[in-house]
Symmetry: C2
Subunit: 313 residues, 2 copies
């Protein structure tokens, strides 16, 4: 079983409107809803790849009930959410039907009480020993201490379970110091962590700060990995022209990278193969379809180029 | 008991953001939720005025549960909603914190099945005989026949219960032909019904089409009433400078007009006093506070000018 943690779960709502006009009223032509938050997105993709996944974090209120009902309907995903008094936040993405551009509104997360945070840590400690790997994903809701991920990393390491951390800012800085097995920052998160905008140097620096392996997701520049076994770049192929059209959001493709890295980790693949999978899944991400486009993924496995990187020093 | 009907109920969500920028991501600083739909808004104000109110219409899904839970917490309001398989729609109002301007996104209503529509008609027919007055409010969700309000008006009239109709477009046109006691169109609805942009002529024409009394809500021009007892205009006083600040939405103030007219009707007040109340409630509307600002309302009762209108002919 792979355990994914999403402390700041969301109900992701997408609206399609003919055009976005500030200060006007819009009739929404199409509404879609899905459980949101980075750990849940990675869990859906892992389940679609055939892995058993347990999801935990916080869920509450009417929105939390919808998130949990939807997860119950996802084969391969086990719900281990901790109930809270507050309500799971919503995110609204308004897609302009003419241009495809998206305008987002993200609600703040619910306030987590100290008792709820304690309850979560107990649930987490009970789940970790049965896990083949743990992923800690996304932002922290209000009330959760900024050092939360550092503690969760230590719990996993104490149990001998490999742990991947995918977050940013101060939670990432503190979490890295607890020596996670993998971190997966994007370019901005990596620069904020290390102070360097030069990815080769920055990934190396992030390793020195405590991460055993660093996989930076650099958008069009693909993945850059610095690991104990070596350094690689996984270059994304040009997008097939008839591929799925709903993968414009970099956050969605990044969640697929997490899924690919975890799948490769628990299958004990060598690093280049893990990166190959992660890059192919990322390019085949189709979140609205519940994970990824399988045909595109299979085809992309032959087309991603994984190359050794020379030292930055 | 006053019965209000809201067929296209909503969960109204308001977001405050520092500024609306199309195609950007926004962190919402403040989220408020309340049961929405014109009949529910009128019911809250009636309850705050001390009237017993029963609310009916359709409610379903997680959003419908939230609407009903909130109503259960409103003293004086009895929930008689008919459950449906679909989900109650959401409306999102994004308030620009700098300018106060609002950008709205209205979800389409859920599809009502023929069985659900039949179930509603039975519930309605059971409730009407116990009502002192009935208000039929707002748009029709998909699946409800466009002549729905005409049938509901006839049911009320057959029971000898006065009925107010507050809607627009074809549902208003059909409903008027069934001879409701009062209609409350805004300027656009009145013009669409009658083809005339001259309010005095148009209110008179709307009476000829079947409405016993017409109260047009004309925004800054106040209320214009054409009734069997005479014609009046209720002029809104200038807004007190320290009044509540959340009454910018004309739809909200119009729902207060409905509440004022119903309250005056069941208390058997003469028309000028009904209009006085409606105009004062409208000017004191404070939907975020659950209805209206009582101190402002009491003060406004002395400041609304109700004047006789001369004939348009």
């Amino acid at each position: 079983m792979i355990l994914t943690v999403t402390l700041n779960t969301a109900l992701d709502i997408t609206y399609r409107t003919p055009a976005l006009r500030p200060h006007a009223s819009h009739r929404v032509s199409e509404v879609t809803e899905r459980p949101g938050g980075k750990g849940l997105a990675a869990a859906r993709t892992l389940a679609a790849l055939g892995h058993e996944v347990t999801v935990t974090g916080f869920a509450g209120g009417a929105t939390g009930r919808v998130v949990r009902e939807r997860l119950t309907g996802t084969p391969g995903v086990v719900d281990a959410f901790v109930p809270i008094g507050g309500a799971t936040r919503r995110t609204i993405a308004v897609v302009d039907g003419r241009t495809g551009d998206t305008t987002r509104f993200d609600e703040p997360g619910p306030l987590i009480t100290p008792a709820e945070w304690s309850a979560f840590q107990e649930v987490y400690a009970d789940l970790v020993p049965a896990a083949a790997a743990v992923a800690l994903c996304g932002s922290l809701p209000p009330g959760v201490p900024v050092g939360a991920y550092a503690g969760l990393v230590r719990t996993a390491r104490a149990a001998g379970v490999p742990v991947l951390l995918d977050t940013g800012g101060e939670p990432l800085r503190r979490g890295v110091a607890a020596r996670p097995d993998v971190i997966k920052p994007n370019a901005a998160e990596l620069a904020e962590l290390t102070g360097s905008y030069e990815p080769l140097r920055a990934t190396q620096d992030a390793r020195r700060r405590g991460a055993r392996a660093v996989v930076a997701s650099l958008g069009a520049q693909g993945l850059l990995a610095a690991t104990p076994e070596g350094r690689w770049r996984a270059a994304p192929p040009a997008r097939p022209h008839d591929g799925p059209a709903d993968t414009g959001d970099p956050a969605d493709t990044d969640d697929s990278v997490v899924a690919g890295l975890l799948a490769g980790l628990v299958e004990r693949l060598p690093w280049p193969d893990r990166l190959l999978r992660a890059a192919a899944l990322s390019a085949a991400a189709a979140p609205a379809a519940g994970g990824f486009d399988r045909a595109a993924y299979e085809e992309l496995l032959d087309r991603v180029a994984v190359t050794t990187e020379v030292s930055a020093a």
